[in-house]
């Protein structure tokens, strides 16, 4: 108990001190996860909206595949990106392995199916509500996609925040393609894993507290957005 208390005290001291190495790890985590979230939203929202609005042979198969990809194991994604970016791999000439860019690529692959699958469900419900109105107005598919993306904006922000939460807490893929290199690719989750194995629990607990705080902040934002949306009748 005394150990736990002292580790916690050490962690709080670490957080309050805000030393540059600690801040650097948090900053890189946020940069990688926010970039991955942005890229996955660009890809996933368009894909989700297309699947929500369109009707084509094999659509149901695509949806099943997308839903299955939501449970993609991070280490498998990490391995896939590693094989492609390693010197012998097809994209080895880019020299991206063990860089933040490789971590962003891995996280983007990991969370794009989440964004696409969740947004598809949200937008399909919306499109069902609007279907006859759109048909009556004679809207083409691009206009329908734009309309549901805009009208579903509050729900889609929630989807994006969920994707961010998933990416910032992810460790398996980024440790494989990033390598957990100090001052270069060390992020919160990989640092926690490393420091725990080294027995430096104060830093691990401090980073864990920050990670939890980020998760709480994300959830608070989601709740606040939902409240605003329902007050405006936009939910």
């Amino acid at each position: 108990m005394q150990d736990f208390a002292s580790e916690l005290k050490g962690a709080l001291t670490q957080i309050l001190s805000m030393d540059s190495g600690f801040v650097e790890i948090i900053g890189l985590s946020l940069r990688v996860s926010l970039s991955a979230t942005a890229f996955s939203c660009l890809l996933g929202l368009v894909l989700g909206a297309f699947l929500a609005v369109s009707k084509f042979r094999g659509r149901q198969g695509c949806i099943i595949l997308l839903n299955a990809l939501m449970g993609l194991p991070p280490v498998v994604v990490g391995l896939f990106v590693y094989l492609n970016l390693s010197r012998a791999g097809p994209l080895g000439w880019l020299g991206l392995l063990y860089t933040p860019t490789a971590m962003i690529i891995a996280q983007t692959i990991l969370i794009t199916p989440i964004v696409a699958a969740l947004s598809r469900q949200v937008l399909e419900d919306l499109h069902d509500e609007y279907r006859e109105h759109f048909a009556s107005l004679g809207l083409g598919m691009p206009a329908q996609i734009r309309a549901v993306l805009w009208d579903g904006r509050y729900s889609l922000i929630t989807v994006a925040l969920a994707a961010f939460g998933r990416s910032v807490a992810e460790v398996g893929a980024v440790i494989i393609v990033g390598g957990n290199i100090e001052h270069l690719t060390r992020v919160m989750t990989t640092a926690i894993a490393l420091e725990t194995s080294k027995g430096n629990l104060s830093l691990a607990v401090a980073l864990g507290i920050v990670l939890l705080a980020i998760a709480l902040a994300v959830n608070a934002m989601v709740a606040s957005l939902r409240l605003s949306a329902s007050r405006l009748g936009y939910a």
Partner: protein, 254 residues
């Protein structure tokens, strides 16, 4: 207040909408069963009939929202196309309101017809009595206001034919009156109105012609005056008297 008799004066026919051999079948059941229909070129044509008669289905077929199993809906002699649908507009029983402001809802509908002028959107809002509510979230409007917004979207598109599918169902009398006035004004300006209603009183107030439909077939089509004065079929007479015709009665009621 607009007078019913003035609705069709000085207008030019802008469309020719009709259907031939129209069938809509689900499984073995013909929900619309071989309908040939020409509408009065002007004014308001009202489709009436019992629940499940196929009124709303017929309206959706005429607007091209559903594909007929057999037969065709024709617009100026050609099969109804997506382009032809741009000359039509429809208001549904439950108005479809986007998650946007009142003005943005209206501008969205008008943009689908290539109308991007804000002033025209504001003018359409004024026509349906929603001026001053431009920036209000549309889904927070009352039921009557939502339906007027839907009507504003439809009329703002300046359609040749306006379809109304029980547009005043479940609205209070004041809202019904407001909507009826807007519909009469649109009709007076030359828009052909084809509406479905369960409200016989409303059909009497608005219609120039009445189409009575039962079990997917047209049993009677007549000028409103003669339909209400002396319906030519037993079914229509029973409908106007608020009775079920013999063929609709459950065996236990006999």
């Amino acid at each position: 207040m607009l007078e019913r008799t003035g609705a069709m004066t000085g207008t030019v026919q802008r469309h020719a909408l009709y259907c031939r051999g129209l069938v809509y079948q689900v499984g073995e059941r013909r929900l619309i069963d071989g309908i040939d229909l020409d509408f009065l070129p002007f004014g308001i044509s009202t489709i009436v009939g019992y629940n499940g008669a196929g009124k709303s289905l017929l309206l959706r077929l005429l607007h091209g929202l559903l594909e007929p199993s057999e037969g065709a809906v024709l617009w100026n002699g050609k099969p109804l196309s997506a382009k032809a649908r741009h000359h039509q507009a429809m208001v549904f029983q439950k108005p479809v309101i986007l998650r946007r402001t009142v003005l943005d809802n209206l501008r969205f509908a008008l943009a689908s017809r290539g109308i991007r002028d804000r002033k025209q959107a504001l003018a359409a809002l004024e026509r349906v009595g929603l001026s001053g509510l431009e920036s209000r979230p549309a889904r927070l409007l009352s039921g009557g206001e939502k339906q007027r917004l839907a009507l504003g979207q439809a009329i703002g598109c300046n359609p040749d034919v306006l379809f109304l599918d029980e547009a005043t169902a479940s609205l209070d009398p004041a809202s019904v009156h407001a909507i009826e006035q807007i519909v009469l004004a649109a009709s007076a300006e030359g828009t052909k109105v084809i509406m479905v209603t369960h409200d016989v009183g409303q059909a009497r107030r608005l219609s120039d012609e009445v189409i009575f439909i039962d079990q997917g077939r047209i049993l009677e089509q007549a000028p409103a005056g003669s339909f209400f004065a002396s319906p030519s079929t037993r079914h229509a007479a029973a409908y106007l008297e608020g009775r079920l015709p013999e063929t609709h009665q459950h065996p236990s009621q006999n």
